[in-house]
Symmetry: C2
Subunit: 478 residues, 2 copies
């Protein structure tokens, strides 16, 4: 019956996470490599995840008053250099265009590693009066950062897709309020859509965005004990508005510099979600992100062949709103199909065989925990609805348990070393000083993820003699 | 009352089209220039048009079975050179990346001028059997073509946005059928959404896509007498499948090369629509493409000020589904507001003053022809619905009349010269030969737009001694 060999995952996630990850995203047909080293092809299976995120987030920010725009992807070198800290951060990874056709360009052009500089050059022209504020634009674009570390699909690639929001306010308070609100939107994407719990917080001075006053982030932990940054919302203060001369007349006719934010979430988020939820059989997609939420597999024998097939087809029709896949392929066994759809992470498998038809029932199998439930055909649509909600919740709470149980209160450097050595995140009272962070990294190979937004550090810093200011999460990190 | 000066269009469309076009798209706040010569900033007003087109076309192709993907934007030089005719066509306009950070790359990378080469390199890996076909992928991306001619916003820019579909079929017939179907989708976008009538046809050998067997196109005429290509659907035959080794085993286990198409529509289409419909007051947006379909302007006097304002607000609420703008700004006069929204092309203006409130009526003003209609407040939503349909139809039929009346049957070279000299399109019986086309261009400065898909050329070629094969449209062209 089987016409083609099946390619299951050949390693266990727990035993060799990085090989497991590499296999699962390729075998589930999400990505492929290209002849451009470090760049990735998003196949339909992964691009559709990006589209779902995009729809969700785009609606959210539009409702909040943000408008979409598109700025050129090439940035003249002079512009990129205008904000000193910014160019220092990005220049080492910039891809430079030097020629067009056979002509050498008079000035090198950077492919955007992020678009602050080209956007703010325009903002300085567009903004004149307090009436022009707040100005809140966003763009969905591709980004090139020529990293020299080993590429990891989704998590670290030389080209990726993201949205970047760029906003200007008349005062610091409003800007800071927005930065925090957007952080909440990102936490919502991870927790509600991806079922990935995150730590919301503020980055250290050492780890903040090049050119920001401070950066807010959502972070989480992968099963291999490495923490990863999910998305960032930067408060830029007046650093760029001063460098780019973004000024306005306030209501009293005083000239003021604008207060700015920039914020982004990228295709990296897809990798985080896949890495966290997948298991030894393949992907496990949270229902809210899965395009096809159900697959119907008829269990066919010679007896009642046509009858079962027809019943399966009828059930599929009832489940149309879940973008059901009706797998009636003849040259594959039911077992082969089970493996295939488990590999691809479809949240619910519906089985129906001769006995089920006789009893007017079907079997629903959850991808996340493999449990089965028999339901009446007449109730199938509402049962599937309920089950999908349950799966989403249960995937989140399983992931939340993992994150919570991976956090260890740590009192000193050796405690942190032990924690990150066993794949955990250390929670510490910390001074926040960059030289202290460098010392911690040397001794433990951990860096700060972010610091809690509400808790204040108590007593002395866990790592040096200074006073603690923050409650901070440290971990090994991507 | 007026706090700010108003910037109307200072030239007439009929007298100085190119200055009119430059003014209207800037003053209606659609675009701005950047420090990158020849690249354009899409401000919210134009980007939202692109989003509307994207939604419309994306739904259409997805329903037809096409899936979205994303391929890297950088193409190694070796890949770009694989199809000889293709590289010859695109190399003169390629932007080359030569360095990353401080490192010189071992091989130059082209920023995609189109993605056939990088996509088909993968297709050769992915396609093995007839079961893998048809393979129909599409991507929405930015494109760089470093043209050295003068840039014209939307119509000719060094960076633009488009979708590119890339499909592979098991035989020529299916591929050709798709190419034609997609052409129909493009005609639909122009005619149904943009209210722009188009000529569907086949490009000449000289004007076809570099690497195609033949190219299908939609073309139209702008009011300045210049024709313009709106979108193209190319049948690539086996040219690329042979260059890239895209082979499959058919049902009889024979090795065959795939039959391919590629097809695209870009942000150029926005410029065509704006240029065709706009008038001396500014943009005229077809209702189906306009995000805000109605603007409500209260006509306020001291008498009944609050009453009128409230009535206007109530009416606005009834029109929510049209994304109504309620313009209650206090520091602008009604006349100023009329000009503003006319400049921006909002399809319907709703006026309501004290007398209207007393009579429980409002005035609807059409942007396209300025005509007014008084309707009862109780009927306002259904009246606006009907009016929007009418405006869309009437804009299309006006444009259709213009296109039809601009086509002249031409018998010889001097007839064509006269026709294109007076801003018309010449319809001719033509041989289709490239050397003949070059001769025609030398003598008339016209080139072939496309040839009718059904009509066959009769008698001798209008320009040379050969037999006519096609009924072809010639015109001055962008």
């Amino acid at each position: 019956m089987k016409k083609e060999k099946q390619q299951g995952i050949t390693v266990k996630k727990e035993e060799n996470f990085s090989e497991w990850y590499t296999q699962v995203i390729q075998k589930a047909d999400l990505i492929d490599y290209s002849k451009v080293s470090g760049a990735l092809i998003f196949k339909p299976g992964s691009y559709v995840i990006w589209e779902t995120l995009k729809d969700h987030f785009d609606k959210k920010i539009k409702k909040d008053g943000v408008q979409n725009v598109y700025f050129p992807s090439l940035i003249p070198e002079k512009l990129l250099k205008k904000e000193a800290e910014h160019v220092e951060g990005f220049a080492p990874e910039v891809a430079w265009v030097t020629h067009a056709g056979k002509t050498k360009l008079p000035e090198r052009l950077a492919i955007r590693p992020t678009s602050e500089t080209i956007i703010y050059d325009s903002y300085s022209k567009w903004i004149r009066s307090w009436k022009d504020l707040p100005l809140r634009y966003n763009q969905w674009v591709n980004i090139i950062r020529w990293e020299f570390k080993n590429p990891i699909p989704f998590l670290r690639t030389r080209e990726f897709l993201w949205q970047e929001g760029h906003t200007v306010f008349a005062n610091r308070k409003e800007a800071e309020k927005e930065a925090l609100k957007i952080l909440g939107f990102y936490a919502d994407v991870f927790e509600e859509l991806y079922a990935v719990p995150v730590l919301k917080g503020i980055k250290s001075v050492k780890e903040k965005f090049a050119g920001a006053d401070y950066s807010l982030s959502v972070e989480t932990l992968l099963p291999n004990g490495k923490a990863i940054q999910g998305a960032t919302s930067h408060h830029l203060g007046q650093n760029f508005s001063k460098a780019f001369d973004i000024k306005f007349l306030d209501e009293n006719e005083n000239t003021c510099y604008g207060w700015q934010n920039s914020w982004g979430i990228s295709t990296r988020s897809i990798g985080i979600m896949l890495a966290l939820h997948g298991d030894d059989k393949g992907l496990v997609l949270p229902p809210k992100i899965a395009t096809n939420k159900v697959v119907v597999v008829p269990i066919l024998f010679k007896k009642d062949y046509e009858k079962v097939l027809k019943a399966a087809k009828d059930v599929s029709k009832k489940l149309k709103k879940f973008n059901v896949i009706f797998d009636d392929r003849e040259d594959y066994s039911a077992g082969w199909k089970f493996n295939e759809w488990e590999l691809k992470g479809i949240p619910v498998r519906l089985e129906i065989g001769p006995r089920d038809v006789a009893k007017k029932q079907v079997v629903l199998v959850r991808r996340d925990d493999g449990s089965k439930k028999i339901v009446k055909i007449s109730d199938v649509s509402s049962e599937v609805s309920k089950l999908l909600v349950k799966i989403q919740e249960s995937m989140f709470s399983k992931a939340k348990k993992f994150l919570d149980s991976s956090m260890v209160n740590v009192k000193d450097i050796s405690g942190l070393k032990k924690a990150v050595g066993s794949g955990k995140i250390g929670k510490v009272n910390w001074c926040g000083v960059s030289s202290c962070e460098e010392n911690i990294k040397d001794k433990t190979s951990a860096k700060s993820l972010n610091s809690d937004l509400k808790l204040k550090g108590l007593g002395k810093c866990f790592a040096c003699a200074a006073d603690a200011k923050f409650v901070t999460y440290f971990g090994k990190s991507y």
